[in-house]
């Protein structure tokens, strides 16, 4: 009986285990039956949305709605300038058409490598708009190690693209892996309070009109989560801070149109592709009453989490051991 079952097991031996991508090693799946990270976002749909938005009106619509990303890129470049170092190359993960890369100056870096999953968006703007040398890689942000070598980058930046990544812990680990020791990662991503006005308006409208809700705004990370995730990925000397960009729109409709043109339409797996017009009309009315300004416009909040992390290196300054202090603080104060 035993030998029989052993023979049976020999016969139907499981196929040799596939080498799992690095990303899936780092996060435990929430759905226990599946292998790999939990899938929240439909990456294929997201790529199509971005491609489409870059092509609409020959890119004119996409350029019109650059305002949020340009503003955040501007605030992020200040943080990069605080690092007194001259880089040979900087890798821009999820660069889009290069909102951040365009702001780089020859004093900071010689070259920038832009990596983006949407080919149309990546090639939207010509090289002449950049001050430094540009290289473009069309690749998936979730599979960095497939295109970039380990220990090869001096600096990695990511400006507003990590919020569409399914496995954020895994991507952070990959970023740490591709960095050289003492390399820096500088990122900006949307925080959980982003578009809370639209989220609440749509939820209330769906609840009242249809008696149930479905996800229309993606789940986003929290600043506390970010510092934990960076620490877990192996970064040191962490800096995490939160900022807000508030934009006023004439009504909810313009906001939704602009979000679509930014390539930021809903891409949650299992989303409803259709919202009833009554629900939309209700949401628009609720948005205005609940959040509207006195002048009739409505606000939309974009919460931005900025993170800085360094890959550990023996040369880095480290905190002294406890009790190593020689001066009594009482004397100083």
């Amino acid at each position: 009986m035993f030998s029989g079952s052993a023979a049976f097991r020999q016969a139907v031996r499981w196929p040799a285990p596939r080498i799992r991508p690095y990303a899936s090693l780092s996060s435990s799946p929430i759905n226990p039956g599946s292998v790999g990270p939990y899938q929240v976002f439909d990456r294929h749909a997201k790529r199509l949305q971005k491609d489409r938005c870059a092509l609409r009106d020959g890119g004119a619509r996409s350029r019109t709605v650059d305002y949020v990303r340009d503003e955040v890129a501007d605030r992020m470049i200040e943080r990069l300038l605080d690092i007194k170092r001259k880089f040979n190359t900087i890798l821009d993960v999820g660069s889009g058409p290069g909102h951040f890369s365009k702001l780089l100056e020859p004093d900071t870096t010689q070259k920038v490598v832009m990596l983006e999953s949407s080919e149309e968006l990546l090639h939207r703007d010509p090289d002449t708009e950049f001050e430094v040398e540009v290289e473009r890689i069309h690749a998936d942000e979730e599979n960095l190690l497939g295109v970039v070598e380990r220990n090869s980058q001096e600096a990695v930046v990511s400006c507003l693209s990590l919020h569409w990544v399914n496995d954020l812990p895994g991507v952070l680990v990959q970023i740490k892996e591709i960095l050289q020791p003492d390399g820096v990662f500088l990122g900006a991503l949307f925080g959980g309070d982003t578009l809370f006005e639209l989220r609440t308006a749509l939820q209330l409208a769906e609840m009242e009109r249809e008696g149930g809700i479905s996800p229309h705004i993606s789940p986003m990370t929290d600043s506390r989560d970010m510092s934990n995730l960076l620490g877990r990925a192996g970064f040191t000397l962490l800096t995490v801070d939160v900022d807000e960009v508030k934009v006023a729109y004439p009504s909810m409709w313009e906001l939704m149109e602009d979000l679509r043109d930014m390539g930021e339409s809903n891409a949650v797996v299992g989303r409803r592709n259709y919202i009833h017009r009554d629900t939309l009309a209700a949401a628009s009315a609720i948005y205005k009453e609940l959040h509207g300004h006195e002048d009739g416009s409505v606000p939309a909040t974009f919460q931005i989490i900025y993170v800085i992390g360094w890959k550990p290196s023996p040369k880095q300054p480290k905190p002294l051991e406890r009790g190593a202090g020689k001066t009594n603080l009482k004397e100083v104060l």
């Binding site: 019109t64 709605v65 305002y67 503003e71 209330l204 409208a205 609840m207 009242e208 009109r209 249809e210 008696g211 960009v245 508030k246 934009v247 006023a248 729109y249 004439p250 009504s251 409709w253 313009e254 602009d258 017009r277 009554d278 939309l280 009309a281 209700a282 628009s284 009315a285 609720i286 205005k288 009453e289 609940l290």
Partner: protein, 75 residues
């Protein structure tokens, strides 16, 4: 921060026309509906503001009809 949007009236899609009705043509009814939700938003259930929404809906339908009639006469 105010985005500068370039919008031409010639490219009025049906959805954008509908959007104008919800925000401009029927703003009074929309506001009444919004206020009703605002009063109950801690405990919203289906059809909690049905009456207000029906008035809003009637106004929107009338506005769309009027638009159709007008476009027929103008063409």
């Amino acid at each position: 921060m105010y985005p500068t949007s370039v919008k031409s009236n010639s490219a009025l899609t049906p959805l954008r026309r509908f959007a104008t009705h919800t925000t401009t043509t029927c703003s009074a009814q929309a506001s009444a509906y919004g206020k009703c939700i605002l009063a109950t938003y801690m405990d919203v259930r289906k059809d909690a503001c049905k009456e207000e929404f029906e008035k809003f809906g009637v106004c929107m339908r009338e506005a769309v009809c009027m638009q159709l009639v007008r476009s027929i006469f103008h063409s």
